[in-house]
């Protein structure tokens, strides 16, 4: 299933690109995620805890950067995650790019997600994935915006803990989470440090 999302970042594209590379900041915008292994420059292993209603899963998976184009600020990531309890898995390809939007940046995300196993068959989740992904991306975007605004008002301060209330990771789709984790981790590797 394919779907599109957009995200607004209140920074010009070059800065937005760098911010998204700042894994410390990004990680605080995504509660419940955990990077467990850096396999190589393009490949990350991790775990993410997600929930849709009474169904809570810890998805274990891997994200691999397939393509990155710093000049045009676009990239493609392949991510797979599976439930260790055998309730299913997800396979996804995410393409995203940054483009200028006024004084800020628009992040355009195109996702292609395949669910397999129990969650695909019985979860009725497939119809909700897109809706939940949009929710997640919006939540991530708000958290990121808040952090950016906070560091603007106190430019000398080091990145802090997420100022937003610790909202539980509710209604976050397994796919979208795995996707975002993979995106930010590959950004980290591209950080010009």
């Amino acid at each position: 299933m394919e779907f599109d999302n957009t995200l607004e970042v209140p920074l010009p594209p070059d800065e937005a690109w760098k911010v998204l590379l700042d894994i410390q900041r990004i990680a605080t915008c995504i509660p419940g995620a955990e990077l467990t292994e850096v396999v190589d420059a393009q490949t990350y292993k991790g775990r993410v805890a997600v929930r849709i209603g009474p169904v809570a899963m810890s998805l274990v998976g891997q994200a691999r950067l397939e393509e990155i184009d710093s000049a045009n600020r676009k990239a493609r990531v392949k991510a797979q995650g599976a439930d260790p309890k055998g309730r299913g898995s997800a396979d996804s390809v995410i393409e995203f790019r940054l483009e200028p939007a006024g004084t800020g940046t628009r992040v355009l995300i195109h996702s292609d997600v395949k669910l397999a196993g129990l969650i695909a068959q019985y979860g009725r989740g497939s119809g909700m994935i897109e809706s939940v992904a949009s929710q997640l991306i919006a939540q991530f975007g708000s958290a990121l915006k808040a952090q950016i605004e906070q560091s603007r008002s106190r430019p000398a301060a080091a990145p802090e803990a997420n100022p937003l209330p610790a909202k539980p990771v509710s209604g976050l789709t397994l796919i979208a989470r795995a996707l975002w984790d993979s995106i930010v981790r590959l950004f980290r590797k591209q950080s010009p440090k």
Partner: protein, 285 residues
């Protein structure tokens, strides 16, 4: 197809129930009311609660009474309780009409109104009713009771504003004025199936024109909601096919439909249009 092990709690009072819930919610504890949504998920082992707090034995949760201009529906009130009008006038008739669309009779003998609201499936009929009529959700916890307005309550598929340790103890629906009209239309492939889309409309007719219109759509997006832009198109207008078609088009243009393997977004959008128009026509008839 057998549920996994869990610890079972059967409190007898609301105070005891929320106390247990406060303890077990952080450790995958959930409320068990009708169980018609939760237990299937447990049977399939999609849901693996470590604790269940069975509220069926809690005193006072089966209240179904009109008070202060609202119909108060307690957490243990079954869907079947609405087969006969639970309130006089249009509200009771509306609920009795909608309830027949919920699953099947043997599920309605156990499933609860509040349970549907707490579960917040996009295809839930009661959720559409609550969103359209502007229900108040009474969330109870060890911290006390708070009222959550419908506009703030639904946050996405299976996602509500309830904290994990909050029990949805009661839902309060505003009583409709005696001259209110309603129209409800749902589409699914077979009787008893989850709704692919549904629409609910209420309005009054004063001096020949519509007023106080509410139009809600459910099953189309992650949560049910009112489409204000379409509602304002009805205000002050005489009921007519033209006005209804225009409002229905507005609804179709406003929604961002779910897409899945079986039903495309375009299909749901189309259903939203048709069902809205039909609901309006039914209300005006």
């Amino acid at each position: 197809m057998k549920p996994a092990v869990f610890e079972y709690h059967a409190p007898k009072t609301v105070e005891a129930a929320v106390a247990v819930l406060a303890e077990v919610a952080p450790r995958e504890g959930r409320v068990l009311a009708g169980g018609q949504s939760l237990v299937p998920a447990m049977a399939l082992r999609l849901a693996l609660p470590a604790h269940l707090v069975d509220i069926n034995g809690v005193k006072g949760l089966d209240r179904l009474v009109v008070e202060a201009g609202e119909l108060a529906i307690g957490a243990c009130v079954r869907h079947a309780a609405f087969h006969r009008p639970a309130a006089e006038g249009p509200l009771g008739a509306l609920l009795a009409h909608v309830v027949r669309h919920i699953a099947h009779y043997p599920i309605r003998t156990r499933g609860t109104f509040c349970g549907s609201l707490a579960h917040a499936d996009p295809a839930s009929e009661w959720c559409l009713v609550a969103a359209t009529l502007g229900a108040r959700m009474m969330a109870r916890s060890v911290r006390g009771t708070r009222a959550i307005a419908a506009a703030d309550y639904f946050q996405g598929p299976m996602t509500t504003a309830l904290a994990p340790d909050e029990l949805l103890a009661e839902v309060r629906l505003p009583i409709l004025s005696p001259d209110s009209r309603f129209g409800f239309c749902e589409f699914s492939r077979r009787a008893g199936d989850f709704a692919i889309a549904m629409a609910l409309s209420t309005f009054r007719i004063r001096h020949g024109v519509m007023t106080g219109a509410r139009i809600g759509v459910g099953g189309v997006e992650g949560s049910p909601r009112r489409i204000g832009a379409a509602e304002s198109m009805l205000e002050g207008q005489r009921p007519s096919g033209e006005v209804f078609r225009a409002a229905a088009d507005r609804v179709a243009g406003s929604v961002e439909p779910l897409e899945d393997a079986r039903y495309s977004a375009g299909y749901r959008r189309d259903l939203a249009r048709v069902l809205t128009r039909r609901a309006l026509e039914i209300a005006a008839a």
